[in-house]
């Protein structure tokens, strides 16, 4: 009976969605707003080789600010609700291969993360991606060496300072530039070079640091409440 009911709901959804799927045609032209961003005169205004980054950091920078604050709220709520465990957490020893590989890979992963967020205006990627890669490096170390304590104070200071600098740079855009999160507060540089796109690489570096520190902090919180008693 219950299964028939579920099936009926699924069929109803299928009937509802079918016209949408049926009428879908691939679009070989950009939509109007995307077309506006891709105009040559607007590209030279931002001067970022990766147009997605230009949209995310300058045109839709306020949404990025919202995402960053949602992440901050998540980290704060997790830290608030997880109770510190009194019991000792005993883990079995990791294999030699895993610990050695973690030691080798950790610096490389950090460098990859920093590369991703510093070159966000040239290649695919940016603050969130770089921060997530850095947090993956941190979880590798947490799994390989669970006994080593992590300096959580440093992580939270790094996160708060990056957040303040991000908001400060955005406000600077409103004060001396064209508007909030405007990237023209610094010289725009030559198109396609590392020093281009004005404040975008700096803003994205701080977003990357903030996201990396925040995700690492969440993981350390989760690790610290483990116990096997």
């Amino acid at each position: 009976m219950k299964n028939i009911f579920t099936l009926m709901i699924l069929v109803a959804f299928g009937i509802m969605i079918y016209p949408l799927v049926n009428s879908f045609k691939g679009n070989d032209k950009l939509p109007e707003l995307g077309n506006y961003y891709a105009q040559p005169e607007n590209v030279t205004k931002v001067n970022s080789a990766n147009l997605v980054t230009a949209v995310v950091v300058t045109y839709r920078g306020l949404d990025t600010l919202g995402e960053v604050s949602i992440l901050f709220l998540t980290a704060a709520i997790i830290a608030f609700f997880l109770k510190k465990q009194t019991g000792k957490h005993e883990v079995r020893e990791n294999s030699e291969i895993f610990t050695t590989a973690a030691k080798v890979l950790f610096p490389l992963m950090i460098i990859l993360g920093v590369y991703i967020f510093m070159n966000g205006h040239l290649t695919p990627g940016g603050g969130f991606q770089g921060g997530a890669v850095i947090a993956s490096a941190v979880i590798l170390m947490l799994l390989a060496f669970p006994e080593v304590p992590v300096n959580q104070k440093l992580l939270s200071y790094m996160e708060s300072i990056s957040g303040i600098v991000f908001v400060g740079l955005a406000a600077l855009g409103a004060l001396i530039g064209f508007g909030y999160l405007d990237n023209a507060i610094l010289p725009l540089g030559t198109f396609g070079k590392f020093l281009s796109a004005g404040a975008v690489p700096i803003i994205y570096s701080f977003v990357g640091l903030k996201v990396g520190a925040e995700l690492s902090n969440i993981l350390v919180e989760f690790k610290s409440v483990q116990s096997n008693e």
Binding site: V52, G125, Q129, A135, S136, V225, Q226, S227, E229
Partner: protein, 93 residues
Amino acid sequence: MNYLLITSIFTGVIILVFTFIAIYQKNMVAAIISTGAVGLFASLMYLVLAAPDVAMTEAAIGSGLSTFIFFYVLNRIRSTDKKKSDSVKNDQL
């Protein structure tokens, strides 16, 4: 049929299979690992569909971090359950 379409259909079928495993598998560890595999193949899908930055996020968060967060939470829930059942046993004794 071009190469891209075949790859995306194949990836989509793999994603569906891993999703069903994640839902119907009784073993929690296998379910969590197949959730991670869904993220991995989803990132491949995004790469095929020309969204490399979304693919990066999905690979790092969907298949890396969230899998380990699930494992940490599972371990935490297990230890709490064990503590509770131990105290119930002591009460009965």
